[in-house]
């Protein structure tokens, strides 16, 4: 920390430093500005003026009211609720498809991570090594061929392939939680064992509360992953409008063949509303984010 003290004292260097940081910050924030600027520009104004409208002549918020009332007019019989906008049904679907799954998976991952760290059993070493090795498999390359496997299983056009495979814990989460359990002193667990608490009791009553920050950060990361997931729902829920989670609703609603409202204002408002929850979660859970990401990856 002391290494760059001289730099700080030189005002010229300081100015250069800040301008570089701010320049990149502006680049980072530019797309968000574009979304907001487009969302508050009346659709009638966008097409007329040549070029990008940095500031609209007047602020128009009709885009936001439109997306909350916009319904899919083509396939109304698939709607779960009458008169619910596609946007809200997307949020609803995303929520029930992602949250319960993440919580259950987290419990199971935590239990496995705890066992790998604190319990002794045979085959522990080979199982753990195998798990680490599987993390190196480029699973993304197999997305589309696995798809045909789940179709064969009869899981096409259901949410099963989106939920079941990730319900029973994931290698990355197990690995991360195991590392966190390393920091839980074994003496506490031994004491509980002597007092007659079973392993599950120890896990729920002692180990888990101590590892809560790790669980929260993994939950947030899992939730964000589910919130943003697109390829899976796009493949498996093809044509099942009532089950579309948010990202799919977002994509489909902006495609001309599906909706009649493709003006930039409508699109930008839609994107802005879809981004907002994640930004709010990030705002409040920032600490968990960073710890979840940096300690998840080991050096070397």
């Amino acid at each position: 920390m002391s290494k760059n003290n001289q730099i700080k004292q030189n005002p010229l260097v300081n100015i250069g430093l800040y301008s570089a940081l701010i320049f990149f910050l502006l680049f980072t924030m530019l797309p968000f500005y574009v979304v907001i600027a487009t969302a508050i520009t009346a659709a009638s104004e966008t097409g007329i003026a040549a070029g990008f409208i940095a500031l609209p002549s007047e602020i128009d918020l009709r885009g936001f009211t439109e997306i909350f009332t916009f319904q899919n007019n083509l396939l109304e019989e698939f709607m779960i609720f009458e008169n619910v906008s596609k946007l809200l049904s997307g949020f609803y679907n995303m929520f029930w498809q992602v949250v319960p799954k993440s919580i259950i998976s987290l419990f199971i991952s935590g239990l496995a991570g705890y066992s790998y760290c604190k319990l002794k059993f045979k085959l522990k070493k080979p199982m753990f090594d195998f798990m680490l090795a599987t993390m190196m498999i480029p699973m993304g390359t197999m997305t589309f061929v696995s798809f045909s496997f789940f179709v064969k299983l009869g899981w096409y056009k259901t949410v099963l392939p989106l939920i079941i495979p990730s319900l029973f814990g994931g290698s990355g989460t197990i690995f991360f939680l195991r590392q966190f359990f390393e920091g839980v002193p074994t003496e506490i667990l031994e004491a509980a064992r002597v007092d007659g608490l079973g392993e599950i009791g120890i896990y729920f009553k002692i180990a888990m509360p101590l590892a809560m920050p790790a669980f929260i950060s993994q939950f947030i990361l899992g939730f964000i992953g589910g919130y943003n997931s697109y390829t899976g729902p796009m493949l498996y829920l093809e044509g099942m409008d009532a089950l579309y989670p948010l990202q799919l609703v977002l994509t489909k609603s902006l495609v001309a063949s599906y909706s009649t409202k493709t003006n930039p204002q409508f699109q930008a408002s839609y994107v802005a509303i879809a981004l907002l929850p994640i930004l709010i979660i990030y705002l409040f859970g920032q600490k968990f984010f960073i710890s979840g990401i940096t300690s998840g990856a080991v050096k070397g």
Partner: protein, 323 residues
């Protein structure tokens, strides 16, 4: 470890044999089984399929085994190699974002006022969904109404507006820029963590030896950061070769392209997974699932091979703490 204790008077107390540890085993076997059933089994299935003439993803016709013919055909398929080439082209964006992350975290490592806030804000693009990101950037690169062309003309460009997504030469550039926007935040966070773990006394020693600032960066900072660089590089290559969502959404078609264009500007956005997706869905005149599975396996080994190569090569430049 002894099997039993022998007391002074000669009594033998047998040590209680440690059991199998069923509880731990069961807790760990659940995710294990799930991984076998839902990840490894489909992969094995795809391997079998790659040797057959299975039709589309939902085909119920019986398959015929045809040996390695799919692999041979994929190998001869020039368009497949074109998509692989584009996959590597696409990883340029990951290299770019790695360099940006290194530069930004180096600036942040001076711990200027607000460095925390800066890195928190830089991270935001990383958590945005690729759907939203693609849509925003599509608007920004719009030929007539995009902010990019607007800014270029502000800097004195007077030619006709650039059709970014309308010509082959600039099509992939869009995605490289998008990656350089969305990925650095992650790298910055990782590098920040690596910077704080560098031992400050190394710099003190270098200063006493009269090493210049540049020299210190090359001889201390870069080697100390090399494990992080290695990790990010690995991740970048792997994710760069497996890009799909961004490209699929950018075209605005449902579920990506429905057919193959070999000459339009979109042909420069045909990353491998897009091609595989189209083949699975039947938009490709050649082959079906068998063909797609063979392509997947080619891609699998290419990604795997590149990762292994990186690992081998890393021995040269990654500082190993155990040595």
């Amino acid at each position: 470890m002894q099997d039993s204790f022998v007391l002074k008077d000669g009594t033998v107390i047998p040590r209680r044999k440690r059991g199998f540890g069923w509880q731990g085993f069961i807790f760990c076997i659940i995710p294990f089984i799930s991984f076998f059933a839902f990840s490894l089994f489909p992969i094995g299935y795809s391997l079998v399929v790659s040797f057959t003439d299975m039709g589309l993803y939902n085909s119920i016709e019986p398959w015929n085994f045809m040996g390695l013919r799919n692999y041979a055909e994929v190998f001869r398929d020039m368009f497949f190699w074109h998509t692989i080439g584009l996959g590597f082209y696409c990883t340029l964006g990951q290299f770019l974002s790695l360099s940006v992350a290194l530069a930004m975290s180096t600036l942040l490592s001076t711990k200027v006022k607000g460095w925390n806030l800066f890195s928190a804000l830089y991270f935001i693009p990383y958590i945005c969904s690729s759907v939203a990101v693609s849509m925003i950037w599509k608007r920004m690169f719009d030929t007539d109404y995009g902010i990019i062309n607007e800014m270029i003309s502000l800097f004195g460009y007077t030619g006709s507006p650039i059709a970014w997504s309308g010509q082959k030469s600039t099509y992939m550039l869009i995605f490289i820029i998008i990656q350089a926007w969305s990925a650095p935040g992650y790298g910055i966070i990782m590098y920040n963590a690596a910077y704080t773990s560098i031992d400050g006394t190394l710099y003190e020693a270098a200063k006493i030896d009269g090493a210049s600032r540049g020299r210190q960066f090359l001889s201390i900072t870069l080697p100390q950061l090399s494990p992080t660089t290695y990790f990010l590089l690995m991740l970048g290559i792997i994710s760069g070769l497996q890009q799909f969502e961004m490209f699929s959404i950018f075209t605005g078609e449902e579920g990506g392209w429905t057919g193959i264009t070999t000459d339009g500007p979109e042909s420069m956005g045909f990353v491998p997974l897009i091609y595989i997706n189209i083949t699975v869905k039947g938009g490709n005149t050649v082959g079906g699932m068998g063909y797609a599975a063979a392509m997947s396996w080619f891609l699998f080994f290419i990604v795997f091979g590149v990762a292994r190569l990186n690992e081998k090569f890393s021995k040269v430049w990654v500082a190993n703490e155990n040595e």
